[in-house]
Symmetry: C2
């Protein structure tokens, strides 16, 4: 089903012209059909994904469920109908100037280009959250498969097309393309209306620049990652240094540290107590199988570069073997960190993290201020912490999409309240989430109809539409 | 009160750190204080604006009321509290994986840079809708004054600072800067968090490119204009050619044609009946006083270039005099228009417009398809029009922020339902409006707090917060 980019986009435009007229119930049917196909094909998909990504079976099985769950949550979001954002102002000729009848709702953007991630072949892959939310929003999709797992991506693409056919979707509504060049053609295609991307800051920035250089720029939703700094108060160290060290290690090794929510930095005043616990725990940890050789090579070289930063010391490395990546925790003083920010403040894809040791609360605050946009951040603290958590929070609010308290940032709930994004480089558009029910809002835009009779309006705006129950009318909801 | 860009932004950051902690009631107080100052100073402001813009007294007086009205509408939007977009998922340990407590709301972006327009010294100026919505959103503002009306802009800036002082706002919350270079420094300043702009496609694109070249890109909300094509069905011509011609002329001369919502193109099958009416009406029209000599010179030269496009014919010009712009309507066949799109499809700032004469319904549809993003578009039709309006509508929906039926696009209601924006170049972000109550959403972004105790959360997220009445909790609202 691979097609040339131009053909894929043109077919998607034709399909979209039909799909945009679908009633919500049919879209819900499509989303459920894809979810069912994913669940039904789990045992065929997982072995292929295992071979391509080296991720373990249980994780990949869980991830298929997460992917199908995203389609089912999106079906709920469509059923909910608040995403239509209906706002109506009735005609009022008594006002100066007289107010015409205005009926506003959102409509789908059109054809969306999607770039999935290497680290989640299902949940952020061809049938990931971006695809689920674009289809839920009423858009057609052209998906560029990630070169890290082409075979399972193609299988998932075919499976989605089968699901689409089974509910009578127009041909071309969902298609996949492959190759770097095809991806660049996609974002430059004049008929494309938005792009969603999950991946590295480097790759995301290249797409961002290409999209903004278009004659007609379009929305680009890039989720580019995060350093996800976690701060620990003295009281928390006193109360539970070992539990914090265990939690940190578990979080940085979840998925072999290949999560965009991995806490790359742990920051504390008097971090030596944490380092002491970590040195024992890390030394006893197992080496981690990464996605592929290239990924592991990159991990190892960035780790080594960071270890050579002035003032950086190894806390511990896990045993290593010939093929897998060793878990590494290193530490640096706050002063050295701030002096060598460029080398020390890097995102490492893999099971490596840094403990920053602060000599004072003031240094801790200075470190907090030194981070820029991040998907997540967090604080481990205690009730008797005085004002430090509040002070940290006011800084972290300014750079984070999500802030966690006494938990770890890995393990992302796919829900209504979730926000996965944040100031650049966490995302290229801090106003939207790429995970959770509200992710579909990225692919709809408002339009307002002035003075139109019911018969010409979209059904949700008719005077007797059931969707008006969630509408704002004359300013009131 | 002019200050250097760097000083203005730094002071604004300091002010924002205080302002962001303000309760909604204090923000509402500030917005009302500015509105009151504007209304109170009307008789001082209008003569200065008249001298600088040549706009007539009644229009400018009305515009002051429109500007103060925008601040009052924003105060209503803040009081409404739905802009907080509170979404809460309660902890649920029974789920796989267990779901943590997630509390999400929006927060202000920070310091916003604002570039006002030349054609509305008040409503889209220093105290325009962008300023009102950024302040309502909880942001500090640094405003670059438009060189077309520096004196009245400075007066309005000082007046806003007085209003801010009167309610105890922190110094630096509102400031103005001037000059092209200062404006460029503003959009490149590392502490700026968003930019709003109303102006030309050319100027807006230059800012767009500069902002996207930043190391840390930020949201840019540019409202760049529109060609605002209006289509007329045969039945409508048969029923009311003269009324349509009158309405069109009134719309293209409102504000001397210097509105971004001016209908630049009137398109019909058998437009000769319209041209016949227009030739009489336009010939009798008065010449129009434009903003300044430069604006008029630009208008005249683009008009003359368009008149020289192959197949373009003059319908009529109003009398001209030595100083003012003549009203001009020209006409071209659909075939010639499509053949000479680059020359014929231009936005003219001023009282000039084009009638496109189609030989068939198919040509009319082809013309509709030839337009790209526009703030507004519209149709004049009749009940017995068969399928043409619906067919046109499906095309116009794809390019328009607003579509009007049997009315004209000029005269923009500032309300809850209004959408002023649309696909590029109508705006640089089609998901947001720059006019109406929802304009403040541009300057807030979601953030989610995971597992936090009430005491550390912002007040609206507390378990007993009155704002929870509009919240979505566990997926339900």
């Amino acid at each position: 089903m691979n097609s040339s980019t131009d053909t894929a986009v043109k077919d998607a435009v034709a399909a979209w012209k039909i799909y945009r007229t679908w009633k919500p119930q049919r879209i819900i049917e499509l989303l459920h059909a894809i979810a069912d196909q994913l669940d039904g094909a789990k045992e065929h998909l997982v072995p292929v994904a295992m071979a391509e990504t080296h991720l373990p079976q249980a994780r990949l099985e869980g991830e298929v469920g997460r992917a199908s769950g995203q389609f089912r949550l999106m079906a709920q979001a469509v059923a909910d109908s608040t995403y239509l954002e209906i706002v109506i102002d009735k005609e009022n000729l008594a006002l100066t100037p007289p107010r015409p009848e205005l009926r506003s709702m959102t409509m789908p953007l059109g054809v969306v280009g999607i770039f999935g991630a290497s680290n989640f072949p299902f949940a952020f892959g061809v049938a990931g959250g971006d695809t689920a939310s674009a289809l839920a929003a009423g858009c057609a999709v052209v998906i560029k498969i990630n070169p890290g797992h082409p075979e399972v991506s193609t299988m998932v693409g075919e499976l989605m097309v089968r699901a689409a056919n089974s509910v009578g979707a127009p041909k071309g509504l969902i298609s996949i393309i492959s190759g770097l060049e095809a991806g660049m053609e996609l974002v430059k295609h004049k008929d494309l209306r938005a792009v969603a991307f999950t991946g590295s800051t480097h790759g995301g920035r290249a797409l961002f620049d290409a999209i903004n250089a278009r004659e007609i720029p379009i929305p680009f939703y890039g989720e580019l990652g995060g350093l996800n700094p976690m701060f620990v108060t003295q009281s928390a160290i006193n109360a539970r240094a070992k539990a914090i060290a265990e939690g940190f290690l578990a979080s940085i090794t979840l998925g072999a540290g290949q999560f965009c929510t991995k806490p790359g930095f742990l920051i504390a005043v008097g971090a030596s107590a944490l380092n002491k616990e970590l040195s024992l725990l890390v030394a006893a940890a197992s080496p981690q199988k990464m996605l592929n050789q290239r990924t592991q090579g990159l991990h190892d070289s960035i780790r080594d570069e960071m270890l050579s930063v002035q003032g950086m010391k190894l806390v511990a490395s896990s045993k290593s073997d010939a093929v897998d990546a060793s878990v590494t925790v290193m530490t640096i003083s706050a002063q050295d960190f701030l002096k060598n920010k460029e080398g020390a403040m890097r995102e490492v894809f893999g099971p490596t993290a840094v403990v920053i040791d602060c000599a004072s609360k003031e240094e801790l605050i200075a470190i907090a201020r030194s981070f820029s946009g991040t998907l997540a951040s967090g604080i481990h603290g205690e009730e008797n912490d005085s004002t430090l958590p509040a002070e940290l929070l006011s800084i972290l609010e300014d750079i984070s999409g999500r802030i966690v308290w006494n938990q770890w940032p890995t393990g992302l709930a796919v829900t209504w309240a979730m926000h996965h994004g944040g100031p650049y480089p966490a995302s290229t558009n801090p106003l939207f989430t790429s995970v959770g029910a509200r992710a579909l809002l990225r692919f709809r835009r408002p339009i307002v109809y002035q003075n139109f009779p019911d018969v010409l309006l979209p059904a949700p705006l008719h005077s007797d539409s059931p969707e008006l129950k969630s509408a704002r009318i004359d300013g009131k909801r």
